[in-house]
Symmetry: C2
Amino acid sequence: MDIVTATQGFSAMGSEPRMEVLQTLVKAGKEGLLVGDIQQRTGIPASTLAHHLKFLASAGLVCADKKGRTITNRANFDHLESLAAFILEECCADMETTT
Amino acid sequence: MDIVTATQGFSAMGSEPRMEVLQTLVKAGKEGLLVGDIQQRTGIPASTLAHHLKFLASAGLVCADKKGRTITNRANFDHLESLAAFILEECCADMETTT
DNA sequence: CGTATATTTCTATAAATCTAGAAACATCGA
DNA sequence: TCGATGTTTCTAGATTTATAGAAATATACG
């Protein structure tokens, strides 16, 4: 994971409504949720929600899967794990003694 | 860790120069670095760096320790770990069957 | 005291983001 | 085909953030 990708991911997580959406999807698990479901659970207006979902998707945190009239959104668990790992990835790298 | 704190943390990580600063401090380990050291390693102008360090500190990601003329900055490793853990904290909570 | 050093605060401009109503678009069912 | 449903795109004003030069502050040293 490079720094640009990581930064985009964290930036996407750096807004309360967006984090709320993401957590709703993380809680929902791999089945995902329809946009309408998310809207119901979060109370975010449709257009605002669409905006945030696009932001989350373009950061790779969420995947959207259109089927008929509805769109299923799912958290991208692999990517989320990588981001979590990135935070302390290079911890203390500069402290290493000449081993 | 509540959602507001987490969001502030991720927001602070959601900018490339700031993430670069944070990583520089994470690499440096618990000894930390002087503002001037960070400036040298990142090439960020002093006033811009001060701005970002304040942002990082107010999000709890970094601690500043003034001593004489210099200020030592350290990554707040505990907080960073909590943030990393937060991302998938409630993973699949809504999928649980009636156990 | 006066000067050099380390860092911040002030300031201003440019750019990005947030929010949400309204309109548009696509798909399904009758 | 027509109306209902689910979701997006358009739009625009308000707010936040980014950047960095210049001035200010604080401490140390001679």
